[in-house]
């Protein structure tokens, strides 16, 4: 789960990481009021959960109330990579002497929280990682020891020279690690962490993702969520025990297991179709889940045909069949549905569905993919 810059900075403030005074605004008028309470010049920043705001024109420096309100007027409602700007962050501009990058991320290879620091702050770190990977210092943090101050100092002395700057930055890093662990982040970046002209170290931006697996112990995150319509569907699906990701193809898929679901999408592509979604109904055998799953597929107007690919392990084929029969009772299915059932209680499942006119049966994944693409063409 991603949160906005201003939300991340509120967390920073909770952990006593220095940030600029900030106002969050949703209207042009509020930006005017915010301007009055700050010292010019003032920065107006689009709050959208996607990178590249600056390049898209979502960040403006302003010196007068009028400029600030004009900037707000321009940015509010702006579309940035498919997301509409609804909130603005307004804060005082700072005189930047130096920008660096600091971040933490859960690292698969070292099985640790990885500290990343780079003298190349203020630019997209993914770019640096690709073009100049040697400019990013990476240190895996011992999860039992945590991040001691001396380690933070050691790292910063590789990118800064001044003792006071290093001490301030190290202090911030230790706090950011504490935040990272306590708040179950999967990513926490300050980019840029700036050294101002008067030798203060301040977090000028924030990028924080929470570990979705840890949401159960952070009820406070729900209030911070700002989902797009598609994401709302995904979250709702998760609450129903499904993994659903909407795509923009024509073949709706319902599969048990994430790996098999991806492989099914891939096969649709391989055979010339386009998958409309990723949908994993998971490991249990609850017929209700099948009904919910069917709803997502049928509610997607792009879907011209549906492929159900079940390899029964924990999931029992007869339970899936029962769920499908129930779903067909509850909703009108006007598009072709191809089904492939294998594994646990396959025979019983097929028997249950044998009289169902809505269904086209397939013997294998490949067979199912071919049939569903063919069926979609004829819709």
């Amino acid at each position: 789960m991603k949160i906005h810059e201003f939300q991340g900075k509120e967390l920073f403030a909770d952990y006593k990481i220095p940030i600029q005074k900030q106002h969050v605004c949703t209207t042009v008028e509020q930006v005017g009021v915010a301007f009055d309470e700050l010292t010019s010049p003032v920065v107006v920043k689009a709050q959208v959960l996607v990178g590249g705001r600056g390049k898209a024109g979502g960040i403006k420096f302003t010196k007068t109330r009028e400029d600030a309100m004009a900037a707000a007027d321009k940015i509010l409602g702006m579309d940035i990579k498919g997301l509409t700007v609804e909130k603005l962050l307004v804060c005082e501009a700072v005189d930047i002497a130096k920008e660096i990058y600091v971040g933490f991320v859960n690292d698969r290879n070292t099985k640790s929280v990885m500290l990343m620091v780079s003298a190349e702050g203020g630019v997209e770190i993914e770019e640096v990682a690709k073009t100049n990977p040697e400019k990013i210092i990476k240190i895996p943090i011992d999860p039992l020891v945590g991040l001691p101050a001396h380690l933070a100092r050691n790292v910063f002395f590789k990118v800064l020279n001044d003792g006071s700057q290093v001490r301030q930055a190290a202090d911030i890093l230790v706090k950011l690690y504490k935040l990272y662990v306590e708040k179950d982040c999967s990513l926490a970046e300050i980019n840029p962490l700036v050294i101002t002209d008067d030798n203060k170290v301040i977090a000028l931006d924030s990028k924080i993702n929470f570990d979705d697996n840890a949401l159960f112990r952070h009820p406070e995150y729900e209030a911070m969520a700002d989902y797009t319509d598609d994401e709302k569907l995904e979250v709702e699906a998760t609450e129903r025990g499904l993994s659903y990701v909407k795509l923009d193809g024509e073949i709706g898929c319902m599969v048990n297991g994430a790996g098999l679901a991806m492989a099914t999408m891939d096969m649709i592509n391989l055979y010339g179709g386009t998958p409309a979604n990723f949908l994993d109904i998971g490991g249990s055998s609850n017929p209700q889940k099948v009904i919910h799953a069917m709803e997502y597929l049928l509610n997607d107007k792009n879907v011209k045909a549906v492929l159900i690919n079940i390899f029964g392990g924990i999931t029992r084929c007869d339970d899936v069949a029962k769920g499908l029969l129930e779903a067909f009772k509850q909703m009108k299915v006007t598009i072709p549905v191809v089904i492939r059932l294998s594994g646990t209680n396959e025979k019983e499942g097929r028997e249950l569905l044998k009289d169902s006119k809505e269904l086209i049966s397939a013997d294998s994944m490949a067979d199912a993919a071919r049939k569903v693409i063919e069926a979609a063409k004829n819709v």
């Binding site: 859960n106 690292d107 698969r108 290879n109 099985k111 640790s112 929280v113 993914e126 990682a129 011992d142 999860p143 039992l144 662990v181 179950d184 999967s186 570990d211 979705d212 697996n213 840890a214 159960f216 112990r217 993994s243 990701v245 795509l247 599969v255 048990n256 297991g257 994430a258 790996g259 098999l260 679901a261 991806m262 492989a263 999408m265 891939d266 096969m267 649709i268 592509n269 391989l270 998958p275 990723f278 994993d280 490991g283 390899f311 029964g312 392990g313 924990i314 999931t315 294998s342 594994g343 646990t344 294998s364 994944m365 490949a366």
Partner: protein, 290 residues
């Protein structure tokens, strides 16, 4: 032979009195897995399907000599259960539980290391050495004893692959579902090394998916260290970036972790990659010269 589990495996089931734990314990027992104990705090002295239950893994190990544990404990408590097994002297832990916070797994890792405990998972279907032992939630009927080792980040995709192999009469030495989470225990490298050393394994199937660069690393490792033929499959070629595809670990971030990169890495390392599951048995047969 086989890797990790066999007839000498003495299994303790953590969370045996839970719904999932109880169900799969009976399945494992029916397959012939040597289940010596269950753990459920407060239930010591009772039995589940004839398996004695203990309050703690420590008690279970002392009473039964259990050496392997399977975790069906709910996510909020699962990492603690893994640590408990490790501290009690268990040498192989199979963590089935899905949804464990990544930081919990990171924190338990050094504890596993210092106790010399290996972990499979979490968020995995477990593993099977057909004819000897199954630990986890695998549908045992599709597996046959044979000479192909299989490593997979996915559950049902593994079944699909095994089913494809079965349709061509190819059995398995051991099949390991390593789990779909970002941070997991044993990974490709360790398991490839075990299969390389296993006399009963003649070829290896590796089922990867999008996210991370473990497949790229495995490709480089195979080139340098593995002499047995390896055939790979990568799921998620059509997955969009920035979206978690079911598995917490199946996520293309900042354009890295794509299926295309992984396939390229394998091909560059001389590892054949199946385009679809049905191609897997064909490539394996070719690799085995049969």
């Amino acid at each position: 032979m086989s890797i990790l589990i066999n007839k000498n495996t003495k299994l303790v089931v953590q969370g045996i009195t839970g719904r999932d734990g109880g169900f799969h314990a009976s399945k494992m027992g029916a397959y012939g897995t040597n289940m010596v104990a269950g753990v459920s705090p407060g239930k010591e002295g009772t039995k589940v399907n004839g398996v004695p239950v203990f309050n703690t893994v420590e008690n279970a190990v002392k009473a039964t000599g259990a050496n392997t544990s399977v975790i069906f404990v709910p996510a909020p408590f699962a990492a603690d259960a893994i640590a408990e097994a490790s501290e009690a002297g268990i040498k192989l832990v199979i963590a089935i539980t899905e949804g464990i916070p990544t930081i919990d797994v990171i924190r338990v890792t050094p504890i596993l290391e210092r106790n010399g405990t290996k972990m499979i998972g979490p968020n995995c279907p477990g593993l099977i050495s057909p004819g000897e032992s199954m630990v986890g939630i695998l549908p045992v009927t599709i597996f046959d004893k044979g000479n192909v080792g299989l490593i997979s980040r996915s559950g049902t995709l593994t079944y699909e692959m095994v089913n494809q192999l079965k349709s061509h009469g190819i059995g398995q030495s051991t099949c390991v579902g390593i789990g779909g989470d970002p941070v997991i225990g044993l990974h490709y490298k360790e398991l490839l090394t075990m299969f390389e050393a296993d006399n009963d394994t003649d070829a290896i199937v590796l089922c990867g998916e999008i996210g991370g660069d473990a497949e790229e690393q495995a490709a480089a490792f195979i080139k340098e260290n593995i002499t047995k033929p390896v055939v790979a499959f990568i799921a998620g070629q059509s997955a969009p970036p920035g979206k978690r595809m079911g598995h917490a670990g199946a996520l293309i971030t900042s354009g890295s972790g794509t299926a295309a990169e992984k396939i390229k890495a394998f091909e560059a390392a001389g590892v054949k990659v199946a385009k679809e599951p049905a191609e897997m048995p064909v490539l394996i047969k070719k690799a085995l010269g049969i």
